[in-house]
Amino acid sequence: MDPSLSPPATEPAPPVPLREIFFTFLLIGATSFGGGVVAYLRNALVLSKRWLDEDEFLTVLEIAQALPGLNATNMSVIVGDRLRGPLGAAAGLLGMTLPGGLLVLGLAVLYAQNHGNPDMHKVLAGIGAASVGLLLAVTVQIGHKQLEHLREIGLIVLTIALVSGFHPSLVIVLLIVLPLALFIYRPRLALPDDGKSPPPEDAP
């Protein structure tokens, strides 16, 4: 049924222990500073552990990106589930989030204790400003591929304008832009023509 799951020449591998899933993602979660978690994941899952080949890794990344949630945690959940089912997913998610989560919790306690400390606010203001610069660079890097066609630019501008200009709920924004984008990119040749629908205007 599923060709991707049956490599012909290998003997059936024993199940991966849950603690190995947990510690693998714990290491990624503890060392992936400064974004770019995908590169760390690829190193660990494809090169070091060989739990996925390159194609499987790209498929999992594709799924993680198409779904709500963060790429890093979605991937830890999906890979954990493929290795050991829901328990594996839980082990992956916990490993991925525990180091950073505990550090952030410690920082939250310190933040509450130093409420009103001007030095702390200066440092955080500097970090916030630096983060804006980083986020801008990442957004431009991801977005510049999209900026070649008018309809992509239109969708990007419409989404930004709706969210930033009118402050509606994100639910409403998605209910407007997602159907519109699906209509724009709808499959062209899939449906049998009943003779009534107009021909596509932008056929080459």
């Binding site: 949630g69 979605n74 959940v77 939250a108 955080l124 916030g128 983060s131 986020l135 660079a137 991801i142």
Partner: protein
């Protein structure tokens, strides 16, 4: 669980299922719900919380833990964490198991192409939301511009170092 605990769980569960293309997409909604609707944070506290989340390794939205702790202590931290990560994870398991069934489906491809510009737009809107509170004068503008220039045009530097450098520059230059 009291009403505040339930609100934390509700807010972050909603954000979890709306986070299309990553956490940045829900920053405007998170700011609106936590600052304007529930008054859990002030504008500048939201900036502080975002900054705290930036220095941690791993996924970049662990700031939800700080918000939860700020509102309702350790219970709040746990509820914000669970609310933000569990719903998306359950969806991920289900979708990943179904994914191969739609192999080659024209609608799967259409959905992926449709999401790409929306994700960029939502990232842009998230950027604007955080810039509105984090860029407050000449110094912060210069810090942001310098980091952008270094990441976009400069040599490969771990962005975490730039974030920490931004904190140091802020300590010495901001008043």
């Amino acid at each position: 669980m009291n009403d505040t605990d339930l609100s934390i769980l509700g807010v972050f569960s909603l954000l979890s299922v709306l986070a299309i293309g990553g956490g940045t997409a829900v920053l405007p909604e998170m700011k609106m719900l936590t600052v304007e609707v529930h008054h859990w944070l002030t504008d500048s506290q939201f900036r502080d919380v975002y900054s705290l989340g930036q220095v941690a390794p791993g996924p970049n939205m662990l700031m939800v833990i700080v918000i939860g702790y700020h509102v309702a202590g350790f219970t709040g931290a746990l509820l914000a964490f669970g609310g933000f990560f569990l719903p998306a994870s359950v969806i991920a398991i289900g979708a990943s198991r179904l994914w191969n069934r739609f192999e080659g489906s024209v609608w799967r491809e259409a959905l992926q192409r449709a999401l790409a510009p929306i994700v960029v737009g939502l990232m842009g809107a998230g950027l604007i939301a955080i810039a509105r509170t984090a860029i407050v004068g000449v110094e912060t503008s210069l810090i942001a511009a310098a980091v952008f220039g270094l990441v976009y045009f400069g040599p490969r530097i771990n962005p975490a170092l730039l974030i920490l450098a931004g904190g140091a520059v802020g300590f010495f230059t901001l008043s």
